[in-house]
Symmetry: C2
Subunit: 237 residues, 2 copies
Amino acid sequence: QLAELCAGQFETLALSGRTVFITAGPTREALDPVRYISNHSSGKMGYALAEAARDAGARVKLITGPVSIAAPERVECIRVESAQQMLDASLTGLSGCDLFIAAAAVADYRPVSIAEHKIKKGSEEIMELHLVKNPDIVATVAAAEDRPYTVGFAAETRDVVSYAQNKLARKKLDLIVANDVSAPGIGFNSDENAVTLVGPDSIETLPQTHKQQLARQLINRIARHFNEYAKTSGKDS
Amino acid sequence: QLAELCAGQFETLALSGRTVFITAGPTREALDPVRYISNHSSGKMGYALAEAARDAGARVKLITGPVSIAAPERVECIRVESAQQMLDASLTGLSGCDLFIAAAAVADYRPVSIAEHKIKKGSEEIMELHLVKNPDIVATVAAAEDRPYTVGFAAETRDVVSYAQNKLARKKLDLIVANDVSAPGIGFNSDENAVTLVGPDSIETLPQTHKQQLARQLINRIARHFNEYAKTSGKDS
């Protein structure tokens, strides 16, 4: 009877029995054994989403770039450095993934080649760095056969919603979580965030709050969109 | 009498009454509001040196790039991001500095310009990044009028001692702490290190140990070299 009660409890959770992949943090693109290109993503938003999705009943695989946050409990944590490694980890087991949330700040470009030894500073005042475009992880996932419901992020410093709508269509995503990283006190390396959730025919703004709180609100909203999608796409459990 | 006893104690410390500037950690060179070039320096060695110099009786100013270590107690901690900011902080009050230890891993190059807004990924598969040489902080300090005793670091992946000797002469430094960052288990982002102390006519190897322990050994050796220099240069206190 207790088991039935517990089962009944879990049945009510928004992501019960679902498998969710979440990417988090920055990637680092090596120039040589000591230098790299990266960005200011702290991973806090992705980690908070992983905990919120776990608490909503999902099995969570967190694919994370280098950050200084401890791995959440009861979450499978895969540590990567580069965008290519993050893509490989994202595609591993993707056919069993119901919902993919790409919260990582993936480097758009990486050095064409990684020097085996530390590059010595020459006498040149100017240096050219040759970069090549990284694979687009969220677009690759969204284009996969039997793809999961795919949620992207857009960190912008201006025209946040219009960039997000453009990105949604171009990458064939289901939802975009857009935020303005130029606004003070929110976003990268901050404990708070405010976002706008942009769907094919919806725009919803979630006001500024702690990332943990915002992550719970976001997982609620995303789960609602996902469950509607799952019904119509025959993926309902 | 107690005061005299205490004073007597302090007199025996190797850096009593000396002012020591120490740089630590990486620098970050911004590409735009979210992206940067950096390196794998954890700051652990510089922070350990700051504590060891403080415990040897010195007034310590720690000029630190972005790291995830708490500021040491009884150490003046100046936080910077870029090489230019680190240089500015190093030159501030330099005439009162007796000993300068450049443990930071300063980016050799920075982007020619910092984009005001996040650079949008274009359709180009290839991108050229134009970099310009950063100021050489330790060489600038060593070339200053009434310069402090100046100790540099050399993180190399090969030919460690010969690169260090070359660097010592070229930058007119007094000592170089050289280490092989390609050796497993030591150096960048590790808790242990092994170094070779290279002077104009001395080479001394300190075997692998914890950075805290190594920092105390290093400060002892550096203080001995410095105190000899101070005697001959008339800077003896």
